[in-house]
Symmetry: C2
Subunit: 222 residues, 2 copies
């Protein structure tokens, strides 16, 4: 298979994905649902952050789509908070695509003005290329991962509107420089917003909750 043929195949896959994503976006906009696509490496703490976010958002309508290669563990953790969650298992697949998400939307019966959180497969590469119909991607980095990650995986941070530096409670134990994280994030995406927090201790969680509520209110006001 030649390189040209491979690129042609890739373009065809992405173009088909984009048309499904547009369909999802029409549904989500009609419902005034503010939708966040959470992307990160495996083990950045997405599910713990999401459980704590749901707890703090309190009595607002929301739902979750969970993506993993295998297991329904994360959807079960989310359901234990009382929130509705659908698990998608991608099997060999390395990312969620808009077609899978469309089927999950059909099952979720979203209420108008909800939040929808899509927890993507843990992968700092492939999910960057796939629009799911979301309002924005939010990239989560554990501070244990190292300050060079934005430079080494620039596509993901270019595609994201917000970067969360999670597990700040571990920062004192691993010689990490939060200013260098921020500088490297801005180097690949000058417009990216940054919130440092610890889902475990609660430090910084207020800023994230405020960010979410402001974004959802702005969407409803349009």
């Amino acid at each position: 298979m030649t390189q040209a043929r491979l690129i042609e195949v890739e373009t065809a896959i992405l173009s088909k994905n984009d048309s499904y994503a547009e369909g999802n976006r029409r549904v989500l906009n009609a419902l005034e649902v503010f939708t966040v696509n959470l992307v990160s490496s495996p083990g950045s703490g997405k599910t713990t952050l999401l459980c704590e976010t749901i707890r703090r958002l309190g009595d607002v309508p929301l739902a979750v789509i969970e993506g993993d290669q295998q297991t329904a563990n994360d959807a079960e953790r989310i359901r234990a908070t009382g929130a509705r969650a659908v698990q998608i298992n991608t099997g060999k697949g390395c990312h969620l695509d808009a077609h899978m998400v469309g089927h999950a939307l059909d099952r979720l019966r979203l209420r108008q003005g909800s939040f929808l959180f899509i927890e993507n497969v843990g992968n700092l590469v492939c999910p960057a290329a796939f629009d799911l119909g979301e309002d924005c991607k939010v990239a989560i980095l554990s501070v244990t991962e190292g300050e060079d990650k934005p430079l080494k995986y620039p596509d993901m941070f270019t595609a994201s509107r917000l970067a969360i530096l999670n597990k700040t409670d571990l920062a004192p134990h691993c010689d990490v420089d939060l200013d260098l994280y921020a500088a490297n994030l801005k180097r690949v995406n000058p417009d990216i917003e940054i919130i440092a927090l610890s889902a475990r201790t609660g430090e910084g969680m207020d800023r994230w909750i405020d960010w979410l509520q402001a974004r959802r209110d702005a969407k409803r006001a349009v």
Copy 2:
């Protein structure tokens, strides 16, 4: 594009990769080079582990192939130890393939009986499917990532001969259960070997160095 067509394309890519991998393996076997394909999430500490490994192996011939989407930072870190290193940038790509590695081999001029370390792109999904011609894959998990990772990304741990639980110095700070990590690893791959270590403090490094030397000696004795 239909599902059948996609699978056909994927099979063609993997089959072409396998033939390049066989070519690499013939070269590496002829040179009695013990080759390790290091796979993990971004931020598991592969490069730090590799620098410390090189330091401890001392005066033995070795070389390194570094894979990243962008930057030559890791190859520079390796070269600072005195070892030879070639950087491969995959651009949009999410894994190294055997064709790229073949070109790197041509540039490395390996000495007989060397170690070759291939540091793959940080990604717990896609590199599992691509044979590079290595003797074995070694999967590295940072203990901060969570005990469920082997269950959620089973392909990678099924494909690996050894799992390294890295950053054990952070274990006391993040409520991690090393026995549960081991149990989950064995659940997806009963044959997998496990070494817990901290490249930062040196704890457990001796076992890893002994493992490498024994494997290389076994290969040379064949």
